[in-house]
Homo-oligomer: 146 residues x 2
């Protein structure tokens, strides 16, 4: 099959990451290497979509990794050339055909009506945010859901 007949889709930013990570050189490539707390500023046009989010909620954040190389199909994970060349669909590399980042965070506070502080986010300052969802735990919704 080919996907040419499916056309393409337009993603619109719904917010932006505010972080002390200023460049790719600063960014850890896995969350356990120590991502800092960050703020997610949501466009006021989408503020209604935050209704009932509160501190303590675990969310999935989708970002658009705007500095990524979309033409890369294979890579040495974490840049380690002793690791065999691996398809990007079996890695977390930002370089991939659709450079969407998936991050799990805990909301720690609201900094404004449409501004969320989160515990740890491995994305550099200015990274567009394209979606938020409630996280699932072990295949089930979080205990506080719905």
């Amino acid at each position: 099959m080919t996907t040419g007949d499916q056309g393409s889709f337009e993603v619109r930013p719904i917010g932006v990451v505010r972080s002390t990570l200023r460049s790719l050189a600063d960014a850890p490539n896995q969350v356990h290497q120590g991502a800092p707390a960050a703020v997610i500023d949501i466009d006021p046009a989408y503020a209604g979509a935050l209704r009932r989010i509160e501190a303590g909620d675990e969310l999935i954040v989708l970002t658009w990794l705007h500095l990524a190389d979309r033409d890369v199909l294979e890579t040495h994970p974490t840049g380690d050339t002793t690791i065999p060349l691996t398809g990007v669909f079996r890695t977390r590399s930002p370089d991939r055909p659709n450079p969407i980042g998936v991050h799990r965070v805990t909301v720690t506070a609201f900094e404004g009506p449409a501004s969320l502080r989160v515990d740890a986010l491995e994305a550099i300052d200015g990274t567009p945010v394209i979606d938020l969802k409630v996280a699932m735990r072990r295949g089930r919704p979080a205990p506080s859901d719905p």
Copy 2:
């Protein structure tokens, strides 16, 4: 802030879901309600990005929920009107500004060089696939990584 200065981004399908789920009426709205096994057909142009994926791998699949309503900001989760109106960013509703689905699957077999059978996927037949990533376990890469 506004996101207007960030422009928008083009997402290109990299594959498609093949499933016995033929309509939204068939689709469970949470994986624990019983999603069926499915096949992910990857466009041969992206086959290189599958290198080193094998049966047993746990992947995150991102889909484009092409039948969603992108203008919805608040909803009653699972359609239950006894649940308070909730912002879509605190739900898993397909209706949201950027209708991207996030699914965790286990690869059970290859059905062809660019065709993966997966254990359970709550997406209807014909849903575009836009990304695959290796899943993380408890904040760390899977034991078999990299």
